[in-house]
Symmetry: C2
Subunit: 363 residues, 2 copies
């Protein structure tokens, strides 16, 4: 019988103890007190104006380049609707975020997966694909602490990717929700910062720095594209959620956001380190890259481990994992994604011990 105290490495979400509920409650109250007319009204499709300005200042761009949306997946959906038509060639990472693959497939994009290495996308492989004649509309890249691989795109590769985007005239979709939760080392410049030719559309979110339930994400991109997406937003929902966005703004303006980020990073660092140590101890044959930030760690097992057997065996042992197969166009049969964002440090060793037992179960 499975233990009743299930340990879940499955969902990329924070545990409640690293969400500042009191701070959010105060921010919502302040929003109602200081700006009732804009919270109550229909609002504007570009987002709550003070938050939009705050984001523009953070990324050092004109405000016209920013649209704030109901979560960043909604931003992706608008961007894909704007740029991806059936049979548009699109570069995706291998592995990559499952919802991105689904969104592109639903729009019948022609997917060209490029492997992810310990220092991010294999840009040499991408260059070969481009030399071979593929002319992508878009390259989707999660540069920091990639979901699911946990790796970070190196500085030289960022430069090279931008050079390729300029040479072959495609848009880099820099999908960067984990930017602010690096817990080791120094942040690299975003491609958005390095770009001087309108080749980058950047997306991020407050789901990882505050919490997911506020469903507040954003896009930064060329003014014309943002204008086009603003029209799409108007026609889809008039305006995004004004209460949530005003709450995010007040939370950021009060300094609570910085404190929340520091708290989240501390917890994630502890959890990632505990997960790395437990894997080394209980599953010495597995390989992984210890991430410098973010929520996820990708574990490769040998060819003798089939995750279609391992995942249910783990479930039976009381530990939940996500199979690698969901994150690639094909393959992923020998890999798992482990999310440490929601598991308290003192439960991680036990979770991995169960996983190791499940590996033995299905040998």
């Amino acid at each position: 019988m499975a233990p009743t105290d299930v340990i879940s490495f499955s969902r990329g979400a924070p545990s409640l103890d690293i969400v500042d509920i009191e701070g959010l409650k105060a921010a919502a109250a302040k929003a109602f007190e200081t700006d009732p007319a804009r919270i109550a009204g229909y609002g504007t499709a570009v987002g709550y104006p003070p938050l939009r300005e705050w984001i523009a200042a953070k990324h050092n761009v004109p405000v016209e380049q920013v649209i704030v949306t109901n979560g960043s997946l909604q931003a992706d959906a608008f961007l894909f609707d704007a740029l991806v038509t059936p049979d548009s060639p699109v570069i995706v990472e291998r592995p990559t975020y499952d919802r991105t693959l689904l969104g592109l497939r639903n729009r019948r994009g022609q997917l060209h997966p490029v492997h992810v290495q310990p220092d991010g996308l294999d840009v040499a492989e991408l260059a070969e694909i481009l030399k071979g004649g593929v002319r992508p509309t878009l390259a989707h890249v999660i540069p920091n602490f990639q979901n699911p691989a946990g790796v970070t795109l190196s500085g030289p590769k960022r430069t090279e990717l931008l050079r390729l985007a300029n040479e072959y005239d495609f848009v880099i979709f820099e999908d960067d929700p984990y930017l602010d939760i690096r817990f080791r080392g120094e942040n690299l410049p975003t491609m958005l910062e390095l770009d001087d030719n309108d080749k980058v559309v950047f997306a991020s979110s407050f789901s990882k720095t505050i919490c997911p339930g506020l469903r507040t994400g954003y896009l930064v991109g060329p003014t014309d594209l943002i204008k086009k997406i603003t029209t799409m937003a108007t026609n889809t929902y008039v305006a995004p959620n004004m209460l949530a966005q005003a709450t995010v703004y007040q939370f950021a303006a009060s300094g609570a956001l910085d404190a929340s980020i520091a708290n989240v990073k501390k917890a994630l660092a502890e959890r990632a380190d505990a997960l790395g140590a437990a894997l080394t101890k209980h599953l010495p044959q597995a390989t992984f890259v210890l991430p410098d930030g973010g929520y996820f760690l990708w574990v490769d097992f040998g060819d003798d481990v089939d995750v279609d057997k391992l995942a249910p065996a783990a479930e039976a042992r009381g530990v939940q994992v996500v199979k690698g197969t969901g994150f690639v166009v094909d393959g992923g049969q020998h890999s798992l994604r482990l999310a440490y964002s929601a598991v308290s440090t003192d439960r991680i060793d036990e979770g991995v011990r169960r996983l190791a037992a499940a590996v033995e179960d299905c040998r």
Copy 2:
């Protein structure tokens, strides 16, 4: 020179004095206090569970028939994406809500407008169209205090429309955001209530009973369709806004919603009556139906008034109106929509006086 104190009959939104900001602030605080985990987390695509249950109970349907969305326009968008493919025949009211027309046009639906009479959609005209061979996917109807016409679909016409939907096998999209803000007479049964054959998809919203900025609307429909739309919602934004929906729920559960509705209805009744009286006094040649609820009144002028001239003339006189042309596939040249929802009663007579002067200006 235009007066600086512009009076706007243009936007269908409430004035801030009829929004219970204190009640909303308390509801948001209570949401954080009582259910932090579900507000902070990703939530579910069907909406915040207690609110979904509240809506199901209100409409006396199983909870599986309800999805709560980021405003009801988003619900429309999902429904149209699910049912309207290029060249799908769709019945629309003439006139109707401009964003509905745009959403259907963007999906290249084949629009068949049916006139609206003082007692709502001309069902005899619809029957003729159906007899003529048109087989619509969908008939979009705003049954109560229609936007823009202000009229209400009579009881016998509701029954007849349902009969036609059954005979010719089409979906009635009962778009009913104004249901709860009838300020005169008794509510008629919704077609959702009368339907026993899964022919009705019903949409409503809290924008008119609480405020638009919470962007919370919903659909009630056949379980399979709601399931399909739930998948679309998951792929578009993971889940709708949990903070806003939990705030709406607490506002409703505390009784503040009932008080808000009573307050809104009182204000709207006064404003509608003042508008009717002012039109009779200053524009005796204009014709209109005094609404029993909702936000809007539709004014028909004679053939000698062209709204392309009248609207700018009114703007120059310091009063904003919306031209009829936006609400019909063609025509509307001699009509205006006047929204009284945001104009305090003591300003209405002056607004209509200015409009009457503008009519004289462009004769």
